[in-house]
Amino acid sequence: MSKIIENLFYSKNDEWLKDEGNNIVVIGITDYAQSQLGDIVYVEEIKNEIKINKGDVLSTVESVKAVSDVYSPVSGEVVEVNQKLVDEPATVNHDPYGEGWFVKIKMINPEEIKELMTSSEYNDFRKE
């Protein structure tokens, strides 16, 4: 069973979102997503300070046998990028909810969080 953290929000594309307050959110991919991909060998670099809309492709994650797009669950501006993923992409496998975070976004429309799933909703969604 894949791990799901309680106080995060989840998208249908297996991204997680953590609200840090002040309209800043942290985005990553879930344990389910990383296990589906297998050993991650490459994370496409995200440019800092770019404007992004909900549903846009933030990055592409590549494993040996698959490639997956990471979509932004909210609209806003990228304010911080996790550089660790450039040299150590496997961090996403080891610690998807912690060190494997992708970006921090300053939201322009905080209401968008309401459209995401809670941890129990995501748990039901991904139940195998």
Binding site: G38, D39, V41, Y42, E62, S63, V64, K65
Partner: protein, 501 residues
């Protein structure tokens, strides 16, 4: 195994030189200094004996069709006849320069002309171009000419319909042709869902790319409806001929209404796979599309009584490669067709269909089929029930190697919910019943091992020179040349056992 560079010894030579090296011509007088590389480029220095030993040893690390069954679905790994190799290698063919005056290459042109006639009859199409070098190359050619057809008509069409079961080259080729891909779902029978197709087809869509039998090995009986749906909206129907081995002498794509057809000569028509080519992906079209074919075509000029190159005309899409085609592959194809004739082309398809259904019948109680129905020339089983023993389909495949078999195609096609953990088996007509019986027994044995002794599968293969490659490491370390390896020497720290085996 050691690399040729590791066997290199300074001073060794594997070549010979004539006595007259034209030393009266001084290179420094012929070419400016800054164009010439002063130092020799370091390749390797080995003798002819070393080269023979090196590649002989390397060859033994491979598995060929001559070694045994290669049940790869959609690859049609059939026997490569030796007489075809000999005839393609005749000096008059192999040493013909493509730009020689045509009176010197009438034989080569005749081969191409005759092949066109035979392929038209076999497929029900009107004209073939021999230019494309592979199936995917043929797809791109077909897509580009379909594109040109609509531009010529003044119609703006931007979409291409492709079934979810399609081979990856289909959407990739459509994208290269500038089209947006619209995926059409398969129904519970494993064939194209007609309702979805009907909804998706409109006047902004070029048409549908279809493999028939499809990639799960099923002949799509909906083809009559499909043809209507596509043509009613002015679209074109493209045939991916990878699975033609189920149709020779039985049914023809041209009769079913396909406008463009590609054939994989290295599949259906017995030319060798070569470890990944060269093959050939010739394209056949109906008359309306002839003006758009790549140029030139081979024609017979009855006034001059000779074969000639004919320019396709101003509507041609141009060229998709240099020169005329993968000629030696065309010779082998012609030889195979002439050796089988109509009677045995039919027998080839008949036997391939019987073979696949036989395996399906004998294995369906052990590996649940994706679809509960007769198949074409290949059957799609699944390894789903072994998941509960912690066994992945990949591990079943690797265990087969321990019994001397090349695994079937696994994880393709992949579309939910039926085609999951797929094992696609294609036993071509060149495989006799006793081979199939042995394969069936081994697959049954492995199914028992999966339950009783799963570790055997998890640690497989055991008898091959290497086992379970670290594919993630390959990407991470990105060692793509020997010089990359040398630069990483200290990190890699190979021992003698690591390299010399």
């Amino acid at each position: 195994m050691r690399l040729i560079f590791e066997k290199s010894i300074p001073g060794r030579v594997g070549f010979s030189l004539p006595t007259d090296l034209f030393d009266d011509m001084k290179i420094v007088e012929l070419l400016p200094d800054d164009y010439i590389e002063k130092d020799k480029k370091d390749l390797s220095e080995v003798s002819e004996v070393d080269v023979i030993r090196h590649f002989t040893k390397l060859s033994k690390y491979n598995y060929g069709v001559d070694d045994g069954l290669y049940p790869l679905g959609s690859c049609t790994m059939k026997y490569n006849p030796r007489i075809n190799e000999k005839l393609a290698a005749l000096n008059n063919f192999s040493r013909a320069h493509p730009l020689a005056p045509i009176e010197l290459v009438q034989g080569s042109l005749e081969i191409m002309f005759k092949l066109n006639e035979l392929l038209c009859e076999i497929t029900g199409m009107n004209q073939f171009t021999m230019a494309p070098a592979s199936g995917a190359h043929g797809e791109l050619t077909g897509i580009l000419l379909m594109r040109q057809y609509f531009i010529d008509k003044g119609e703006k069409r931007t979409k291409m319909l492709i079934p979810d079961s399609a081979h990856g080259t289909n959407p990739a080729s459509a994208a290269m042709g500038g089209f947006d891909v619209v995926e059409i779902k398969s129904n519970e029978n494993g064939t194209v869902d007609l309702e979805s197709l009907s909804k998706a087809m409109d006047e902004e869509t070029v048409g549908l790319m279809l493999t028939n039998p499809n990639t799960v090995g099923l002949y799509d009986e909906g083809i009559i409806e499909i043809e209507k749906i596509i043509h009613e909206k002015g679209g074109l129907l493209y045939y991916d001929g990878a699975n033609l081995n189920a149709s020779l002498g039985i049914v023809r794509p041209g009769d079913a209404g396909f406008d463009v057809v590609h054939l994989n000569l290295h599949k259906t028509f017995s030319t060798p796979h070569g470890g990944g080519g060269p093959g050939s992906g010739v394209i056949g079209v109906k008359s309306d599309l002839i003006p758009y074919l790549p140029t030139p075509l081979i024609d017979f000029d009855s006034d001059k009584n000779m074969y000639i190159f004919k320019d396709v005309g101003s509507k041609s899409i141009g060229m998709i490669r240099s020169f005329w085609g993968n000629f030696s592959v065309l010779v082998k194809t012609l030889c195979w067709i002439l050796s089988l004739g109509p009677e045995f082309l039919y027998e080839a398809s008949k036997n391939s269909i019987i073979n696949a259904n036989y395996i399906l019948a004998k294995l369906k109680d052990y590996y649940k089929p994706a679809y509960d129905r007769f198949c074409g020339h290949e059957c799609t089983l699944t390894g789903r029930e072994y998941k509960k023993y912690g066994i992945k389909t990949l591990q079943i495949a690797k265990r087969l190697m321990d019994y001397g078999y090349h695994p079937p195609t696994i994880y393709f096609p992949h579309f939910e919910p039926y085609a999951d953990e797929t094992i696609m088996i294609e036993p071509p007509e060149s495989e006799g019943k006793e081979i199939l019986d042995d394969f069936i027994n081994i697959m049954i044995k492995i199914s028992h091992e999966a339950k009783d002794n799963p570790d055997l599968l998890k640690t497989a293969p055991h008898i091959t020179p290497i086992s379970q490659t670290d594919d993630a490491l390959a990407v991470k370390q990105a060692i793509l040349t020997y010089d990359d390896e040398l630069q990483n020497k200290d990190k890699l720290n190979y021992t003698e056992e690591n390299i010399n085996f």
